[in-house]
């Protein structure tokens, strides 16, 4: 039987009367990059806190490489989690924070940490309290990458980081992942930035798993189709339609369903334009409503 890196069985969590998570079932395989996507309040952080045994579920159980993480040092040593608001001691310097991290994470890569310090141009002597928002994120990213933990979790780790800083993070992440494969969970809003990095995608919506699977397979089921109204309607009958727009005799639809090569050919013969829906856009269709666009988050 296969041992998953992370296994969530029927997890539910309530805060007072609000349901944060309801019946979450997930299996994450070893050495894959996962994207945990969801709108604000979808339950991403709550789920990750439960996975890392920082919060307890009301129901269900978590397994890390087959073991419960609650008060289990052996299971917990496999995990490094980096959070949006940072989880560092305010009076400790950057050097100190890295020093502490190096003594608690078994696979700590000192060279990588030092290289990243230089690339981010982070002042080592500053205490955490005196770092800017972007620098705090940089410190978190350095800890997450240098930990080389078999399960590394980044929960929106880029607040205050500009586009160049985020790009550096993505580049180093994929580079280091190829040299040292490990399970990486990226929880994020910035889907269009990370979608190419993800092997698998999990979409959380209102505390439930809405969609999970290989990101290319998901993309291979999401299409825009545009053409004359009657022809579009003929071809999409029976397919799951996410969105539909008409202008005059023209109709554009977004569908989320598998389409065979023959069907595509038939559509092309009928002069329909077909293209894939980018993951970010698909996410917006699925989770409904307007989502924060790239760039809005850091302000």
């Amino acid at each position: 039987m296969m041992t998953y890196a992370v296994e969530c069985k029927n997890i539910s969590k309530h805060f007072g009367k609000t349901t944060a998570l309801s019946h979450i079932n997930l299996n994450m395989e070893k050495d894959k990059i996962y994207g945990l996507l969801g709108r604000n309040g979808a339950g991403k952080s709550t789920l990750l806190n439960i996975v890392t045994a920082q919060t307890f579920p009301d129901d269900g159980e978590v397994k890390i490489f087959g073991e419960s993480p609650y008060e289990n040092g052996r299971a917990l040593r496999n995990i490094c989690i980096v959070k949006e608001n940072g989880m560092f001691l305010k009076d400790v310097s950057v050097t100190g924070a890295l020093d502490i991290a190096s003594s608690f994470y078994n696979n700590w890569d000192k060279k990588l940490a030092e290289r990243l310090l230089i690339e981010f141009q982070l002042d080592k002597r500053k205490t955490y309290r005196n770092l800017s928002l972007g620098m705090k994120s940089q410190l978190g990213i350095i800890v997450g990458l240098a930990s080389r933990a078999p399960i590394t979790i980044f929960d929106e780790p880029y607040i205050g980081l500009d586009a160049a800083g985020r790009q550096l993070f993505y580049d180093v992440l994929i580079e280091d992942y190829m040299e040292n494969p490990r399970t990486i969970i990226l929880s994020t809003h910035l889907i269009d930035e990370v979608s190419n990095l993800l092997e698998d995608v999990i979409i959380l919506n209102k505390g439930e798993v809405m969609l999970e699977g290989n990101s290319e397979d998901i993309k291979n089921k999401a299409f825009y189709i545009r053409g004359t109204k009657d022809r579009v309607e003929k071809h999409i009958s029976g397919k799951k339609v996410l969105s539909k727009e008409e202008f005059g005799n023209t109709m554009a639809v977004a569908i989320f369903d598998s389409i065979s090569d023959n069907e595509i050919r038939a559509m092309e013969l009928d002069d329909l334009a077909i293209s894939s829906i980018p993951l970010q856009q698909l996410f917006i269709f699925l989770t409904g409503g307007k989502m924060i666009k790239r760039g809005d988050i850091n302000e």
Partner: protein
Amino acid sequence: MKLPLDENKLIYMQIAEAIEDAVISGELSEGDQVYSTNQFARLYGINPATAAKGINLLVEEGILFKRRGIGMFVAEGARNMIISKRKKQFIEDHISKLIREAEKLNITKEDLIDIIRNYEGGDK
């Protein structure tokens, strides 16, 4: 540096097409070693598993073959295979469309052939 990708297309299809283009243009000759999964991942900033999917697609079609422990190579006859595949695609995608469009405009097949023959713009 990262090469750009078209976000409206599947990434692994784009990887496969990029390799095919390189073989057709002669950048890659038959017997040449192809970029590794990791090199593609680095070049495009994509997940290596996705790059592997694109390469495997071409292995299945017999355009690439694997030498264990060394890497992926362009197979013998790959260029012809790609060209005949693309030709078939070209006919399906473009010619059929051309003919149907011509029919709408009351252009006969003979007229169409004449138009193509006399068309100057596409010639080198």
